[in-house]
């Protein structure tokens, strides 16, 4: 098994292969790729597949072991986070995170990266338990009200997940669903205080 060497042509091929093979079920899209060289990759995501996310996916290819003829296959890979796109000079967008202790950190980022990508790329304390597929609430952020209305409206799926977030506010969103754009250049978001609602079980004798 070896790592696939990325080149622009191959990347284009993979994306078109994936798009041809996509199937929809409920509100999700599933992409699967079958290709003689790339044995298979399976991606499930509720977001449209784009070039950025494909670059961030580790793909391993199948090889034939000539002595045993035992075929080895790739692992199911999820979209890896924590890899950021470098902003083009002059096109940097700014974002400020307010951390749990109140500290503010500002970063220059590229258009299209999600807040989850950015937070994880800078090692901030934000989990993306479901890998950024809008299936949990662990990347909950509180958006500065000044910027909230500039964001595209949350989908029902995102709102369903926000229902389960701790410390929900009027301007809460999921970090994985907000993509950086010129409209929100300079946006400020706070990471919620992770205090769980106190329940009876915390006071067990």
């Amino acid at each position: 098994m070896f790592k696939l060497q990325w080149n622009p042509n191959l990347k284009k091929n993979i994306i078109s292969l994936a798009k041809n093979n996509q199937t929809r079920f409920l509100n999700k899209r599933q992409y699967s790729i079958h290709h003689p060289r790339i044995n298979s990759i399976c991606l499930t995501r509720s977001l449209p597949l784009d070039t950025t996310s494909i670059t961030n996916t580790t793909v391993t290819t199948a090889t034939t072991n000539s002595t045993s003829f035992k075929r080895e296959f790739s692992n199911f890979t999820k979209l890896q986070h924590g890899h950021l796109t470098k902003p083009k000079p002059g096109e940097e967008l700014k974002i400020t995170f307010v951390l749990k202790d109140g500290e503010q950190r500002t970063y220059e980022v590229a258009e299209g990266d999600t807040l989850l990508d950015i937070a994880q790329g800078h090692n901030l304390d934000m989990e993306g338990a479901c890998g950024g597929s809008c299936a949990c609430s662990t990347c909950h952020v509180i958006v500065d009200p000044e910027y909230y209305d500039a964001l595209p409206e949350a989908t029902d799926e995102e709102d369903d997940m926000l229902d389960l977030a701790y410390g929900l506010t009027e301007t809460s969103r999921l970090g994985c669903q907000i993509k950086m754009s010129k409209d929100i250049d300079g946006i400020r978001v706070a990471l919620p205080q992770m205090t769980r609602n106190v329940s009876n079980n915390d006071f067990n004798k």
Binding site: S32, E72, E127, A129, C136, M161
Partner: protein, 494 residues
């Protein structure tokens, strides 16, 4: 400095997230032993999450990272060379799969005696029951835990004759008791399993899927003791059920239980408000719906299957036919008092004719066999604890013992809440680890697992790879091993 040794019992989301946090945040070097009863890790992520929710299982990737970054099959407290000593300063984790703590190979006491810290995160392994006549003796009555384990390919159930020899083709009307997400998952799987685009590319057990597809389901009744406002499921799962209308699967709630005008919507929390709106919209004819979100897919004109949310009922008795199969369920109406107590009206009995009953009342935590002799407190369905510190039966904190996840709080909440819980417990452990260091003399606590036959992480990785390979043959993310024998055969073929 010697590494602190930590044993975590159970490798589901709570165990893994506790380990993940410890590895990430511990200020002093630690070695984690992660014990798992089954040969495979991930607990309810693998065997609880519905197969058509693969994105929820993405947390497994985080767990795999723990091993990628900190993996050690070997306890470095035992070695002396300089390279080893360097590695002594790094956090490490080891997987001990296929070993029952308290079983023939290792006792809980041995682990506690030989580790600095032991964390219980073994979840809830039993079922809450109705305790009504016929529940345990009637064919066609299953608990949700058994049922979910069966279709998720759990070793204890996937090949069970109780399921695989059941006459599924006779199933037309189904009753599900309970109002949580598991009840909705079950409904979705039962009612939509013939729709290939939903199920063909999932890792559902193919034996279960084939059996379920033989059903000729007409209606599924979801029965709850309380009312609509007390439903425990989340909006995502409910929305998925309503959305099946585009396949001719229609849901209803009787006006008696759902009347928008009688609800105090103003004072409802956001979640409930959205739930009321969703149900109200979906029950309107398509053309009369006000929001575009509810008009995405036109429902099929022909309704082939129905589901109904039914409220304020208490099941009293399960009635069987001469062959011992379930025939009907006798229930009575309930009222809820102003003090929010449920009072069954035993003189108002009704009967539902059903061919299958699933009780989905929640998973129940049970104590480990040695808890009594070790004086570890257990109440109702979870380990006695204060903020994760395990308590003795008399209520004193037992130093070095912790609990996290469902076995600490009871079977409630999604993976994100379990993650939060595990993080809090891990942070407590870290704090205690740091303070214990001050002034105390350390002596190495070692536990040698070489003599215990177990599945290592590398072996699991090869099982994982094989499951992917088998899955890929039919465009699925994986095809699970359904029996321990199959696992053993594969491992010995390597």
């Amino acid at each position: 400095m010697l590494k602190k040794t930590i044993s975590i019992i159970g490798s589901g989301p709570s165990g893994f997230y506790t380990a993940y946090r410890l590895l990430k945040k511990s200020p002093i070097p630690i070695h984690i032993k992660l014990w798992e009863k089954l040969p495979v890790p991930f607990g309810l992520s693998r065997y609880g999450v519905a197969p058509d929710h693969p994105e929820v299982k993405n947390c497994e990737e985080t767990f795999k990272l723990c091993f990628k970054e900190h993996f050690n099959d070997y306890d470095y407290n035992n070695c002396t060379s300089s390279q080893d000593q360097q590695q002594q300063q790094q956090n490490s984790i080891e997987f001990i799969g296929g070993v029952t703590v308290g079983g023939s190979h290792i006792k809980l006491k041995q682990i506690i005696d030989n580790q600095d810290i032991v964390i219980f995160s073994y979840g809830c392994q039993s079922d809450r029951r109705l305790n009504i006549p016929g529940e345990q003796t009637t064919k066609g009555v299953f608990t949700s835990r058994e049922f979910v384990n069966w279709y998720n390919g759990h070793f204890d159930y996937s090949l069970s004759e109780k399921f695989n020899n059941f006459p599924w083709s006779k199933v037309k009307n189904i009753g599900i008791i309970g109002n949580g997400n598991v009840a909705l998952d079950l409904t979705r799987i039962l009612i939509s399993n013939q729709i290939d685009e939903i199920w063909n590319n999932t890792d559902i057990s193919k034996i279960a899927l084939k059996n379920l597809q033989n059903c000729n389901i007409k209606n599924i009744e979801l029965i709850a003791r309380r009312d609509f406002l007390n439903s425990k499921f989340t909006n995502k799962e409910l929305r998925e059920l309503w959305e099946l209308e585009k396949y001719g699967i229609k849901g209803t709630i009787n006006k008696e239980f759902f009347n928008k005008n009688q609800f105090d919507i103003k004072n409802m929390d956001r979640t409930l408000k959205r739930r009321v709106e969703m149900c109200d919209e979906y029950m309107k004819p398509f053309n009369e719906r006000t929001k575009k979100n509810y008009k995405k897919f036109k429902p099929l004109d022909i309704v082939t299957k129905t589901w109904e949310l039914d409220y304020l009922k208490t099941p009293l008795r399960i009635n069987k036919d001469s062959n011992g199969y379930i025939k009907s369920l006798t229930l009575c109406h309930n009222i809820i008092t102003p003090e929010n107590r449920v009072v069954p009206q035993l003189n108002e009995k009704i009967t539902y004719n059903i061919d299958l009953l699933i009780t989905s009342l929640g998973y129940k935590g049970v104590p480990l066999p040695e808890f009594k002799s070790l004086d570890i407190g257990f109440q109702k369905d979870h380990i006695s604890n204060v903020k994760g510190h395990v308590l003795s039966s008399s209520g004193n904190i037992i130093p070095g013992l912790y609990a996290s996840g469902w076995i600490r709080r009871g079977s409630q909440g999604v993976i994100a809440s379990t993650m939060q819980d595990s993080f809090e417990v891990a942070d407590t452990v870290i704090k205690d680890l740091a303070t214990n260091l001050n002034g105390q003399t350390n002596y190495p606590k070692k536990l040698n697992v070489e003599s215990i036959p177990h599945i290592t992480w590398s072996q699991w990785e090869s099982l994982d790879k094989e499951e992917h390979r088998r899955g890929q043959l039919s465009s699925k993310p994986r095809e699970k091993f359904l029996s321990i024998k199959d696992v053993q055969d594969h491992l010995s073929s390597l």
